[in-house]
């Protein structure tokens, strides 16, 4: 097996946040979530299935999202996820955590003259 190159691990730490944010628009299944993130990010963020599904299960286990089997637009069975109340709270937390990191890194990159 080809080793997972760290250079592709662009998402590290932000995937949960991206998924939670996407579900604000309403319930969606895994495929659709990944597609949405890829489209909105203009192809900059590509979520692999080996990252996507473990992340969804992780978030569900933590109670931040809840799942339900349904039939997709294309008539295939799919697992629809929705934000839970605590998930919504967690989204705020993660969003501010990202903001903090972003500001801090920016400060180091271009410090005040």
């Amino acid at each position: 097996m080809t080793p997972a190159s760290p250079r592709n691990q662009l998402l590290y730490g932000t995937l949960d946040l991206l998924i939670l944010r996407t579900l604000v628009y309403g319930p969606a299944h895994g495929h659709a979530i990944a597609g949405h993130i890829q489209r909105v990010s203009e192809d900059a963020l590509r979520i692999e299935t080996g990252s996507l599904y473990p992340a969804l299960h992780r978030l569900e286990a933590r109670g931040w999202i809840a799942a339900e089997w349904k039939t997709s637009d294309k008539g295939k069975r799919a697992r629809y996820y929705r934000l839970t109340r605590t998930g919504r709270r967690q989204l705020v937390v993660e969003q501010s955590r990202w903001q903090q990191l972003s500001v801090a890194v920016t400060r180091v990159l271009r410090p005040a003259e």
Copy 2:
């Protein structure tokens, strides 16, 4: 041993960039690098020694920084690191990678209305 809580792993993926950027100001030893990043980020980024030294060795092994034993301001022996030419190039790469990630995530967080 208390397990490493993922909540503290704020730095994942950005540490190399921060170190390289810091060395633009001139050679510095590990302690000083960590201190600089912490100060400039206004305490938002705290680099633990268990992250710092492996990172420095990693960067040195990749040829992005070079080291030399010297005596510090406080009269202690310290390993001074400086940016190499390829390290300077790498800094540009990492900086633009960060910029890309930052823009992409921001797009997902607040998409065009």
